[in-house]
């Protein structure tokens, strides 16, 4: 029985099953804090602790998912192409806003955390916090960050941005629907984009574009900034 619960197949099935169950629960409750992925994180951790299965075993069992994550980062190149194709023409505002948002985002999170005396491993882990999780972990991992910290922080940032983003933008006087969608995607990646699609088609399209471009800009800039800025 113990061997059965610790087997690769059981742990994989459980992961996919909990993910699907979380999705169903989310669709019924519609509460942003009960995001399916967050529910899956928590329920899996509780299960592994109760069943006394070490994380090492779980990680080994789900190596397949890690491999698929690597492929989906490459697949983001397709998303980027699709979004850029749709854009055509208004390249300047998009390019400048992406670079400004990326530099402001990385510099602010790193310098504020630095003021608290946080060590370098954590600074690197949270530096790419505004981009989609697969890119964020691919950026922080090779630079010596902790990928589990990255994935959880990035996720929570996305949820925060999707809940409070509109309100913050309204308070700061950003009224252009295109700019609002763009900002949501730039600050809160996929989760912000999901929210932007609910607001409207224009917001959704610009949000998807911002998410893809922020991912690219962050992937290229963070390694440089890590070397020279902190």
């Amino acid at each position: 029985m113990v061997d059965f619960i610790r087997s690769d197949l059981f742990l994989l099935t459980l992961t996919v099953g909990l993910y699907c169950a979380g999705g169903m629960l989310y669709r019924r409750m519609r509460m942003p804090l009960l995001h399916p992925v967050l529910l899956t994180f928590v329920s899996l951790i509780v299960f592994l602790l109760c069943a006394d299965i070490p994380y090492e075993r779980y990680k080994e069992a789900t190596r397949m998912l890690d491999f698929a994550l690597g492929m989906s980062v490459v697949a983001l190149g397709y998303l980027l192409y699709e979004q850029v194709e749709r854009l055509r023409g208004s390249l300047l505002p998009v390019a400048v806003a992406t670079i400004a948002g990326c530099i402001a985002g990385v510099a602010s999170v790193v310098y504020i955390a630095m003021a608290f005396g946080v060590d370098r491993t954590i600074l690197t882990s949270i530096a790419p916090k505004s981009v989609t999780v697969p890119i964020a972990v691919s950026v922080s991992g090779p630079l010596g960050g902790m990928v589990s910290v990255t994935s959880v922080v990035v996720f929570c940032v996305g949820i925060f941005g999707s809940i409070f983003g509109e309100w913050i933008l309204a308070r700061c006087g950003v009224r252009d629907p295109e700019a609002r969608g763009f900002a949501l995607g730039a600050a809160a990646h996929g989760i912000g984009t999901a929210r932007a699609i609910e607001i409207g088609a224009v917001e959704g399209a610009l949000s998807g574009l911002a998410m893809a471009l922020m991912g690219l800009a962050t992937a290229l800039l963070v390694p440089l900034m890590e070397k020279y800025m902190y």
């Binding site: 948002g101 985002g105 910290v149």
Partner: protein
């Protein structure tokens, strides 16, 4: 299936380039840029990679669950720096929202004005 092949191929080339350049940028991100470049140059048709890419992008959230579960080993690191992480992440998210939103809005207004002026001159 051909789409999956190209995704794996670009990842492989990306890994090769990454290890040649010292590993500052991981191979899959170089692969992403290569795929984007191949699609833009028209060497690779979007239809070829679309099915595989759509599937991977649609289920992406499932793939990073194991990383989040890693929190059971690293939770003490987050708890030890909880306030620093929460405050910096929240403030920085507000910064990104405002900087990206304001920059885009002001530049978008300007390009729109230029576009209107050109239309008027030509019309």
């Amino acid at each position: 299936m051909t789409g999956l092949f190209f995704i794996l191929l670009f990842w492989l080339i990306g890994n090769l380039l990454s290890s040649l350049t010292g590993g500052y940028i991981s191979g899959n991100i170089i692969g992403m840029i290569l795929l984007f470049g191949a699609l833009c140059s028209g060497r690779l048709r979007a239809e070829t990679v679309r099915p595989a890419a759509r599937f991977l992008l649609g289920t992406m959230a499932l793939f990073f669950v194991p990383y989040g579960v890693g929190l059971m080993e690293s939770y003490d690191v987050i708890l030890g720096n909880l306030w620093a992480i929460v405050i910096s992440a929240v403030l920085s998210t507000v910064v990104v929202l405002v900087v990206a939103g304001k920059t885009y809005e002001s530049l978008n207004r300007r390009t729109r004005l230029v576009r209107l002026k050109n239309l008027r001159r030509n019309g």
